[in-house]
Amino acid sequence: MTLAGAAVVALAVLLVAALVFGGLIVGGRAVRRAREARRAKLATPARRLLLAITAGDDDPEQVEALVRLPDEVWHAVEPNAIALLGKVRGEAHTTLVDVFERRGAAWRARSQLRRRDPVARAQAAEVLGNLGRRDALLPLCDLLGDPDPDVRVVAARSLGRIGDAGATQPLLATLASRRMVPQQVVATALTRLGTAAQNALLAGLDDPRAPIRATAAEVLGLIGATGATVRVESALRADPSIDVRVSAARTLGRLGTRTALAPLLHSLGPDRPVALRAEAAKALGELGAVTAAAALTGLLSDVEYVVAHNAARSLLRLGGAGRAALAAAEHRAGRPSCPARRRARPGGSGRGRARRPPQATRAMIADWVRQVLTVTDVCILTYFLLINSSYLVLIVLASAEFVHHMRRVPFAGHEETYRSPLTQPVSVLVPAYNESAGIVHSVQAMLALRYPVFEVIVVDDGSTDDTFERLREEFGLVEVPRVVPDATPTRGRIQSVHVPRERPDPLVVVRKQNGGKTDAVNTGINVAQYPLVCMVDADSVLDPQALLSVAKPFADDPLRTVASGGVIRVANGCTVVAGRIVDVRMPRGWLPRVQVVEYLRAFLLGRTGWSRIGGLLIISGAFGIFRRDLLVEVGGLDHDCIGEDAELVVRLHRHLRRQRRDYRIVFVAEPVSWSEAPSSLKVLGKQRRRWHRGITEILGKHRSMILNLRYGRIGLVAMPYFVLFELLAPIVELAGVVLVPLGLYVGAIDATFALVFVGVAYGYALLINLIALTVEEYSFHRYHRWTDLIASVLASILENFGYRQLTALWRTMGMWAAIRGGKHEWGQMTRTGFQTVLTPPASAAGPGGSGRDRAPVTAAEDARVES
């Protein structure tokens, strides 16, 4: 077949494929709408019935009517019925269960417990739990050993709902089994079994396996088993495992018996492990023993931040006496000197200047183009074919992940996680620099996130506006003496730590000398007291479920998950009310519209695809959760790297692979965080130069990982891919844009080749965009309006004309800046604040300089690094 023939075939294939996917989007949406409308029509009268019986109308006729509903109608209201089942109790619950039973739900579920499809097994287990079927105890206990981890979790949860104490032993046993169920799930389930489980739990305290003893101790506190106090006290004093002792301390606080005072005070001793001292300090507050006030006051100036912090919170809980002691002590202590390490920066030496491009005549150019093209034409073509195909592969992987994810949403257990007191707490880090306009709303929105236990740490990075004053006014902040640990290296000195005194909001505001965003985040890591830390941008608009969704991997696989990233979407055009997205729409301008499509393809689908094969290299600093101990282990964010968030992930991979640890770094596709995308070319250009500069620096810094067997799929697949298809992409893109028209002009290539090039480079890319839109349409479906759909299709076409070429140019410039500039330049500019990092040092004057007074959105964009 000739090239021309191939071109025709390829173009025809492209056209057909584009039509197919276009049809799929439109058809899919139309069918969805029709189905929804039909469902709504069917469901309306049935929903009314459902509400009536749930509201407690003891009308047997209504129950009868619901039971006799045709299956089709029932399926339309079943999700509502299931939802209500979990939200009501008492008679309303009993009646609902009765309806389910009479419709044969339990019988059907039991027959599904052994299905090959894990989703079917999990759903069946969920139904049996919802209905509280005690006769399902044994089969559900069997499911605790299921090969699918999600099924095991659902089985454990359902056993808790059923509430039969017979499940205690099997539930405890799973903690030490090879097919493990996460501790918090087991403990939550055990808690629901109530006091009937007490004897089995007491026996668990003697188990030789530490996780079982720790969980047993924990649950005894949660069920209020005051009879177990003596046993738990001896565990606190003498258990060989620190985890068990910490659990025991917590439990004694919860049980609140007087005798616990002595062992808890004993555990405060300076020679005890920090975790134990901190927990004991907390427990003394729970205990409410005023006699502990003196001991707690003594801890206020403790060198361990967590111990001092917990002691202060406990004093607050002790009422008037504690409050007075706290005020007096803090007054006396004044301002402590905060250890903030200053590291000497080695001054980078300037590199040689780049050579000027050779001057050439027209004839020489033509000749040169011809020569270059004879070597590279096929290469360029192949490159575009490969890069687009790689996107296709990533999209297919992402789709597989979405299917997996979507099918499991009904039993994801977010409600359960939210209600459980055992969910791993999160410290949310909010670096803020001159965020006066939006900071109060942002912090309020963050404090209102759905999550059981978390704190919000705002690090005011030497703002020159009234960011801090606004926070102080809104939350009634008072300064407290705290020694902030020096866990990760920081540069800017901490000036003061503030907490709200009158309001119980879990908020900490740290004021420090300006040191840049990286420095602010590292300071936040030092202040954070919880095992997980979440990095967010001060101007991110977060979904209320954000923490629950992105922390889920930690709950599901607590031993292996080390980091989890959330997807960033474009906030432009959406309606934001008080820091929440209430209506999702396409932006008005074409620049942000194109970015919506780009974010979908590159961030949502690209990263989900990489996450699926365990090669995720980037978690955006705009929303990512990390294990704090690991951040400390690797030294926090790197001050000298522009793409500090991506660099962190690469460094985590490097560190963990070297130690041959079994770990997971995952990406959660659920839309959780919305950011304003640049709407002017100037800002977009700045952002893209910065991103690509970041990528170049990271790949340069970690080049020894590339193609290194030691780093497994990260070194062999993900990093080489990044070099080939991220780092070099803009250069090849520009080469194509320049060489193909030139070649055509000088006659080095013929029209057919140019056509094939356009087809492969642009037609294929357009097709990829359409496929990405199709996947979004069938998965999250966030843009409901038909006009938004038209806009996004047009945007995916427009991306190929102008936008792509411009970004390629910016990216090349960013790469060049990285190669030329080295690290010296960045180190110098950090001091001027993270908003102004890209302005040359001369124009970024000291505090209050000209570069600082831009609109908050624009300013934050500069700081944000994504790629």
Partner: protein
């Protein structure tokens, strides 16, 4: 007739609460976010508000605080509805000025009794 404002983003709960309260003879206005609740409560002050704590826009706690600050709604009876029942949360709820606190899963009947009790307390 006694007017009650119900604010909950969960459609099942909102409909159920509205249904139950209407059945009990109250005049119910239902909204699905905190800001709408605040606007409605300040513009047409009801006799009582049932607020979900976790809502998009503004949390029930924030709405509660705002209502307590505004002179017109300072004494408005507020019942918070929440999925969380840890000690700290209850403290936060009452700290924000709530009159009562109902934890999900809840009993629709109990809800009505509590509404009646709070209203009765207000009248005396």
């Amino acid at each position: 007739m006694t007017a009650i404002l119900v604010a909950d983003d969960d459609v099942d709960i909102r409909d159920l609460v509205a249904f139950k309260l209407e059945q009990a003879g109250y005049d119910v206005v239902a909204v699905d976010n905190g800001l709408a609740a605040l606007t409605e409560a300040t513009q047409n002050p009801p006799d009582l508000v049932v607020l979900d704590v976790m809502m998009p826009g503004m949390s029930g706690i924030d709405v509660c605080r705002q209502l307590r600050q505004d002179a017109g709604t300072k004494a408005l009876p507020i019942i918070l509805l929440t999925a969380r029942a840890q000690e700290g949360d209850v403290e936060v709820g009452f700290g924000a000025g709530a009159d009562d606190y109902i934890v999900k899963p809840f009993s629709p009947r109990e809800l009505v009794s509590r509404v009646e009790a709070v209203l009765a307390r207000m009248r005396t």
